[in-house]
């Protein structure tokens, strides 16, 4: 019984901490973030397993985690309001070349992050060439180039 209760608590505590650490962490996982997540996983695993390393206990913990994850994904998909809270919502951070700096600051992003995504995804050089930059719920930055820049992008890809 305690392994199921512990798993449920650990799942939601981990979810809350990771979710509340900001989407930024999810989209741009650095080597250090990766190590940090390994340590978090290790700490959670030790508290979950305690001194019981039996196969039954491991199976109970895994089954509970997978079940909660399925339940959360079902809630996300079927309850729109709750889904938005659980997953987050996309946010436009650049609109027609204009940086929405308040949003950028709150999302803990910088103009450099946006320009980096623009360069990486479309080979864009300046903010003016970006029609929309969207901070997605997954933590990634999507870039929609200005039509002129898009045409140029197509051209350069073609050659």
């Amino acid at each position: 019984m305690d392994s199921v209760i512990k798993s449920v608590i650990v799942y939601f505590v981990l979810w809350l901490v990771i979710r509340m650490s900001g989407r930024r962490t999810l989209g741009q996982l650095t080597v250090f973030d990766f190590i940090l997540f390994l340590i978090i996983g290790g700490a959670a695993q030790r508290s979950l397993m305690a001194q019981d390393y039996s196969l039954t206990h491991a199976f109970l913990v895994i089954a509970t985690f997978v079940l909660i994850d399925i339940a959360v994904s079902l809630v996300e998909g079927n309850v729109p309001g709750l889904g938005k809270i659980l997953k987050g919502v996309p946010t436009i951070v650049v609109e027609n070349g204009r940086v929405l700096s308040g949003r950028l600051r709150r999302a803990r992003l910088s103009e450099d992050n946006v320009l980096e995504a623009a360069r990486r995804l479309h080979g864009l050089e300046t903010m003016d060439e970006i029609k929309f930059a969207i901070f997605e719920a997954s933590g990634e930055i999507s870039i929609i180039p200005q039509p002129k820049a898009a045409a140029h992008d197509e051209l350069s890809r073609g050659t």
Binding site: K84, G88, G102, A107
Partner: protein, 164 residues
């Protein structure tokens, strides 16, 4: 259009929710910082807030009032200048039920457990106070009301809160 307003193209935004989520995010950071500060102070065991000493007659007991399950903690009982050859320290049944004794220094000359709890008998030192260190690990979580009794004199009641 203001920055706070929700756009519907190219994605459907919900800026009211987004601002609420950002505010919630900040509140969680404050909560996490508070947890870390409280942990440093010893509220979650092993720190200044956790260490406590209780005294009665010849017996003085220093213990961790906040402990964590499966984490070993130290309990020091000092019995002032015993006159007799032997000194005994008795811990009530709740201690035996909920704590696993790992090590006792100095080694007792005899020990017994029964409905009265755990009784440890030590040879009295040739001079000075007898200091007994007990390393014990909580087996379960909860609030435990415990008592320690020294023979010839002294009885203290103390509580330990064990976190899961």
């Amino acid at each position: 259009m203001r920055e706070q307003d929700s756009r519907s193209y190219p994605v459907r935004e919900d800026m009211r929710l987004q601002y609420a989520l950002w505010a919630w995010e900040r509140a969680t950071w404050v909560a996490l910082a508070l947890i870390v500060l409280l942990a440093l102070s010893g509220l979650f065991a092993h720190g200044p807030l956790s260490r406590r000493t209780v005294k009665d007659a010849a017996l003085s007991l220093t213990y961790e009032r906040f402990q964590r399950v499966t984490s070993v903690a130290r309990l020091t009982a000092t019995i002032a200048g015993p006159a007799a050859d032997e000194v005994s320290l008795r811990l009530n049944p709740s201690f035996v039920d909920n704590f696993q004794v790992g090590d006792i220094e100095p080694r007792p000359s005899s020990s017994s457990a029964g409905p009265f709890g755990l009784e440890l008998v030590f040879r009295a030192p040739t001079e000075g106070d007898l200091a007994v260190v007990i390393w014990a690990t909580p087996r379960s979580f909860g609030l435990f009301d415990l008592t320690a009794t020294a023979d010839p004199a002294g009885q203290v009641a103390f509580s330990i809160l064990v976190y899961p």
